[in-house]
């Protein structure tokens, strides 16, 4: 079996004349927390709907758990819990009854309802009508619906929408726990990088229906690294030494120099060279662009700024 739990191959999707997804190929490794990033309208929700079989993609294939979604839809969906956009709640029913509906449709054991209410911290509010819930509570109930079947894959579409910082933190901890303790693979979309930067192991960046980047969080950080500022005693001499060793360094005048790096390991390498040449290292500042800037640049959202 492929090590990837989700694999899409050259997906295309259009609404009438409007091309929404173009040649989209994503790979989500089993056990990963995959952050699916992109500005609003980039095609995140469309991708998620395609993954759940809600949208029929005219071209390309979707494989989940190594099985073709189209031919084995129910067997595949059996192992997925999803929260697609805002939670689907019957407001005239209690929180518990809302979960009970999902339970009945999936044919799960009864105790799971109480267990999941506990997991998302809604036991006390379970008898209240879902219509009276706050945004955060609705979001948590939606999460409970997704978790009810004890899925192997959790698909969450902007789950942090409408959550306050406290709620976001709780969500983050919950997701990390599920991933570590139960080995659940998580596919989570967001339009704010910092929201998932602390949880994601892998990242996919999408804009205008095309995948711009896909890889581990470390790889993304490498890209964002451009230059490092190092303080030493004699910047000009150190620049010359580093240059001879194959590094790109230039003196910023006085005691500071700028080292251009392609990945994080090059920083270690340069510092080792400096120490071998008995040059002092007083300070190392990564003038790393924030991931947020990188993300904004990639997706053109930073254009106006």
């Amino acid at each position: 079996m492929s090590p990837n739990l989700i694999e899409t191959n050259a997906l295309d999707f259009r609404f009438g004349a409007h091309q929404v997804l173009t040649d989209l190929s994503i790979q989500v490794p089993t056990g990963a927390i995959y952050g699916f990033l992109g500005p609003n309208g980039a095609g995140k929700s469309t991708t998620i709907r395609a993954l759940m079989g809600l949208y029929k993609t005219p071209r390309g294939s979707i494989t989940l758990f190594g099985r073709d979604l189209r031919s084995e839809r129910e067997a595949v969906l059996q192992r997925i819990g999803a929260l697609v956009e805002s939670p689907s709640l019957y407001e005239h029913l209690s929180g518990r009854d809302n979960l009970e509906i999902t339970r009945r449709m999936r044919g799960l054991r009864k105790e799971l309802v109480t267990e999941m209410l506990k997991v998302v911290g809604l036991e006390r509010d379970a008898p209240r009508k879902a219509g009276t819930y706050s945004t955060g509570m609705r979001q948590r109930l939606g999460l409970a619906q997704a978790l009810l079947a004890e899925p192997d894959l959790l698909v969450l579409d902007e789950p942090a929408n409408g959550l306050d910082p406290q709620g976001m933190r709780e969500l983050r901890e919950l997701l990390l726990g599920l991933n570590r303790e139960r080995g659940i693979t998580i596919f989570i979309s967001s339009h704010i990088l910092s929201e998932i930067e602390k949880t994601a192991t892998h990242v996919g960046i999408i804009d205008r229906g095309r995948l711009l980047f896909q890889g581990s969080l470390g790889e993304l950080k490498d890209i964002s690294l451009s230059s490092v500022r190092i303080e030493t005693r004699d910047a000009a001499a150190v620049s010359a030494i580093l240059g001879k060793e194959g590094f790109t360094a230039r003196s910023l005048g006085g005691d500071a120099l700028a080292l251009t790096v392609k990945n994080r390991d090059e920083i270690t390498g340069a510092i080792r060279v400096m120490i071998e040449h008995e040059q002092p290292v007083y300070e190392v500042n990564s003038s790393q662009k924030s991931l947020e800037d990188l993300f904004l640049n990639m997706t053109d959202m930073g254009g106006a700024a």
Partner: protein
């Protein structure tokens, strides 16, 4: 067999729970109560209508009901109930959740329809019960009404069954529209317009082919004392609903769920 029954049972169990405390369920029960209550009041005040002439009081009591109920009240009630039941999903934006569950799409669609058929039977059954209750109360108040002298139960039951089955035609039209259209103007507008049209066009020679009039013609069999079950309006009702349901299910399995 389990491939068909299991998803149907699971989905049906959920549908029943969704009805809890809804206006649709209350409407199904209160609609008949309203009509039976009015009937009771009429004959409570004018009991002579059921006594004079020495005729069959069952025929008078139920004949009046069948006319109003089958011609207008039931189609209107079902138009609203179908809309309300489908709107439960629209309002909760539930389709994207429901269709991402490991159940075949057709099973979700069919159980939604079955719950409406159930409500249709419930409305008719409630009316029969309340009518019998009305008869019983009137007979207690006015022992002169000769309910006991006539055995009419078989015809009453048969006629109600026929009205119910003939209504499936309009019910399915309303269902196919209400489940696909989020707004209320189209399904309610079309339902009300069609019911009024069927009243206006009563003299039209082909009105018996118009789905919103099937129940009325099925109800007419009561006065005609027609005992056969599969009369034209019943057959038409079943045929229209079967064809539309097949088309609806096919469209539903293919459409993109927003």
């Amino acid at each position: 067999m389990t491939k068909v029954l299991t998803p149907l049972c699971r989905s049906f169990g959920a549908e029943v729970l969704k009805l809890k405390g809804t206006l649709a369920l209350w409407g199904t029960l209160l609609g008949p109560l309203f009509l039976a209550g009015m009937n009771f009041l009429i004959y409570f005040i004018h009991e002579e209508l059921l006594i004079e002439g020495g005729g069959n009081p069952w025929a008078v009591l139920f004949g009046n009901t069948f006319n109003i109920w089958a011609m207008m009240f039931l189609p209107l009630l079902m138009t609203v109930i179908v809309y309300l039941v489908c709107n439960v999903e629209h309002r909760a934006s539930a389709w994207k959740h429901v269709y991402a569950l490991p159940l075949p799409r057709w099973s979700v669609y069919i159980t939604k329809y079955l719950i409406l058929v159930f409500l249709l039977f419930l409305a008719n059954g409630t009316l029969v019960l309340l009518q019998y209750l009305t008869a019983f109360l009137l007979w207690k108040i006015y022992p002169a009404i000769a309910f006991a002298d006539f055995a009419y139960d078989a015809l009453i039951m048969m006629s109600f069954l026929k009205v119910t089955l003939a209504s499936l035609g309009m019910l399915t039209i309303q269902f196919v529209i209400s489940i696909n259209v989020r707004n209320f103007v189209l399904p309610l507008g079309l339902g009300i317009f069609s019911i009024i049209a069927s009243l206006f066009l009563m003299r039209w020679e082909h009105i018996d082919l118009f789905p919103y009039a099937y129940a009325f013609f099925a109800g007419q069999d009561f006065s005609a004392e027609e005992m056969a079950l599969f009369t034209q309006p019943v057959l038409l009702g079943l045929a229209v609903s079967t064809v539309l349901l097949l088309i609806g299910t096919t469209i539903n399995s293919r459409r993109d769920i927003r």
